[in-house]
Symmetry: C2
C-alpha cells in the first residue's frame, strides 16, 4: 500500500476511501453525504444543499482556450449544475481564486465579470472567498443552496432514487461541449459560436427544480459523460440501465463537425451540464409539457447488475474506449 500512487487508484476509489475514513458516525443532521451531486444538511426546518467544484489551469482548461470571463462563468455554472442535480435552488457561493503573482489585473477583473454574470443568471450571491498565490490559476467555488420542502420533507433528486421501470430522460442535447473543446484545441477561437457549449454551460436549473416539485426522485447532471453519470445512478439505486443509442440527442456541433464520433462525444464526452432524470413515464411527460423543455426519453431502469448498456437498433451493445472522465488517471 505504502508506495501506491493516487493515479493507480483513481478518483472514485479515492473518494470511497475518504468516505470510509470520515463517514464512521454521520450526524443525524446529515441527510445526504458523500456520493451524490451535493450534500444535504438539515438545519432546523431548512434543508441545505452544498457542493464544491474546482477548475485547474492545465487540467480542466488551457489558458489560451478559456478566456478569463468564461472561466469565471464556468466555475460557478458547474456548481449550479450540481445544485440543480439535487432539484434544489442555489443561494450563495464562496470563491477561492489561486493566482500566480504575474496574473494581469485586467484578467482578474474579466473573471469577476463572468462570475458576476453567471451569479445574476442563476440568482446566486457571491458572499466571500479567498485569494491565494499559486503556480497556476485555479478557481474553486463552494455553493450553498436549499431544497424545497412539502409537509416538512425535502424534495430532492437523488442518484439513489431510481426504481425499476423508470424512464430515463435527458434535457437538451449532448456532445457539443466535447466537440467545442476539440475545436478549441484545433485552434478555433473562443468567440466562435460552436464553442459556447464548452465555454458557457447553462444548466437547466428551473427544469430540475420543477422535476423535484413534481415528485421525480432521481436525477444527476451530465458532467463526466452520459454513460458514466448514468452508471452512478445504477450503482446508487442498485439497478441496470438500458439506453437506446438512436434516442440519444446528439448536439448539432458534434454532428456537423465530428459526424463519425458524434455519438461517442454525446455518450462519453462530458461537460454538457444537462440533466438526466429517472422517473415514472407519466411524471417525465408531465415535466416536459409543464416546463416546455426539450426532454428526450433515452432508456429505462431495470432490475439487474448496476451497469449501463447502450444498445444500437439491432440490440447490439455499443462500446467506446472510455465511459468518461476520471480526474486522477493519466
Amino acid at each position: 500500500m505504502g508506495q501506491m500512487q493516487v493515479s493507480e487508484v483513481g478518483e472514485f476509489a479515492l473518494i470511497q476511501r475518504l468516505a470510509g475514513i470520515l463517514g464512521q458516525a454521520p450526524p443525524p443532521e446529515l441527510v445526504v453525504g458523500i456520493g451524490d451531486d451535493a450534500a444535504v444538511w438539515r438545519a432546523g426546518a431548512a434543508y441545505l444543499v452544498a457542493t464544491t467544484d474546482t477548475l485547474v489551469e492545465g487540467v480542466h482548461f488551457l489558458p489560451a482556450a478559456l478566456p478569463w470571463a468564461d472561466l469565471g462563468w464556468k466555475a460557478l455554472a458547474v456548481n449550479v449544475s450540481d445544485i440543480a442535480a439535487m432539484g434544489a435552488r442555489p443561494l450563495f457561493a464562496l470563491v477561492t481564486l489561486a493566482l500566480p503573482p504575474g496574473t494581469p489585473v485586467a484578467g482578474v477583473d474579466a473573471l469577476y465579470g463572468g462570475l458576476s454574470d453567471c451569479a445574476a443568471r442563476f440568482g446566486v450571491a457571491i458572499v466571500g472567498g479567498d485569494i491565494v498565490r499559486a503556480p497556476q490559476v485555479s478557481l474553486t467555488v463552494a455553493l450553498l443552496g436549499q431544497a424545497e420542502t412539502r409537509r416538512g420533507r425535502p424534495l430532492l433528486l437523488l442518484r439513489s432514487g431510481a426504481r425499476p421501470g423508470d424512464v430515463i430522460a435527458v434535457t437538451g442535447s449532448l456532445g457539443d461541449a466535447a466537440a467545442g473543446l476539440r475545436l478549441l484545441r484545433q485552434g478555433v477561437p473562443p468567440g466562435d459560436p460552436r464553442t459556447v457549449a464548452q465555454l458557457r454551460p447553462d444548466p437547466p436549473l428551473g427544469v430540475a427544480q420543477q422535476a423535484a416539485r413534481l415528485g421525480i426522485a432521481c436525477g444527476i447532471d451530465v458532467s463526466d459523460g452520459l454513460l458514466q453519470d448514468v452508471a452512478h445512478i445504477c450503482r446508487m439505486s442498485g439497478l441496470s440501465a438500458l439506453l437506446r443509442a438512436a434516442a440519444v440527442p446528439v448536439g448539432q456541433t458534434a454532428r456537423q463537425e465530428f459526424p463519425a464520433e458524434a455519438l461517442a462525444l454525446a455518450s462519453t464526452g462530458g461537460e454538457d451540464y444537462q440533466m438526466v432524470f429517472a422517473g415514472p413515464r407519466a411524471l417525465i411527460r408531465r415535466l416536459r409539457s409543464l416546463s416546455g423543455a426539450v426532454l428526450t426519453e433515452i432508456g429505462e431502469m431495470r432490475e439487474g447488475p448496476p451497469e449501463v448498456r447502450l444498445l444500437d437498433e439491432a440490440g447490439a451493445e455499443v462500446r467506446f474506449a472510455s465511459a468518461g472522465w476520471d480526474h486522477l488517471r493519466p
Copy 2:
C-alpha cells in the same frame, strides 16, 4: 490598468475590487458579506455562517515540513478559526483536494486521518468535496456554521463591532506558530513539540462562542498577524487601536528560541489562530472568569484614524518591517 499584475495590487485591494464588481445589489438574506472572517446568510430562522480557506504547497506549506496528517488537521482548523471569529458553531465542511498523480495513497490516507481528527475535535462533519489533479498539492475547505440567536437576532462577533473605550483582549499566547515555522525551516523535525503551534493550531472555539453569548460584539482571529488583524477591526469599526507592547502575551517557544525577535513574531508572525476580542471591560472580565481561558488585555479602541499603534513602556511607537502577511505580494 491593462498590464498591471496582481502582485502590484495585493490581496486586500484585489478583494476590494471583487467586492466592488460583485456587491452591487446584495440580497436581503445577506447579513454579512465580503470583508469579515466569514459571511452570514439568513435562511428562515437560521443564521448560516460560511467561510473558505486554502493551503497551497510551496506557498502555505513546504511538503517536507508539514506532514500529511498535520496538513489535513490544519486545513480544517484554520476554517474553524474563521467560524469561531464570528462567534458561531461550525457544522459541516466540503473538502477540495488537488493532488499530483504521483501522490502516495498512504499520504492521502494520513491527510484524511488528520482531517478526521480535527473534525472530531470541533464537532464538524465532512459531507463532501472534490478531488482534482494538479501540479502541486492544495487543500481547500469550505466550512458552514450557524450563529446562535437571542430573540430572533444572531449573536455575532464582527470586525465592525468595536466601540470607543472597548478593551482589546487576546486568548492564549502569540508568536509560537511563527517561531515553529522558523524552526522547521532550520531543519527541526515536525515531531518536535516546539512545532505544534505551527502544525496543529487549536482555535479557542468555545471561548469565542461564549464571548458572543455574553454580548461581546467584536472579534477576529489572529491569522495574518496581530497588528494586521487588529487593523482590520480599526478599518471596519472606524476607530484607532492602541496596543501596549509589554502586555502582548508572547509564547514560550518564541521567547526561548528567538528572544530578540519574539515581540515581532508575536505581533506580525501570524498563524496563531488565537482570538482577539474588543468589548467593554466588564464583559471581557466576565468572559475570562466564566471560561477560565487565558485572556490578556493588550490595549483599547479609541476615536481616531483607522490604524493600530503598538507602544512601548515609554509611550514610543514600536515598528516592524511588515505588519503581516499578504498572499499575493512577493
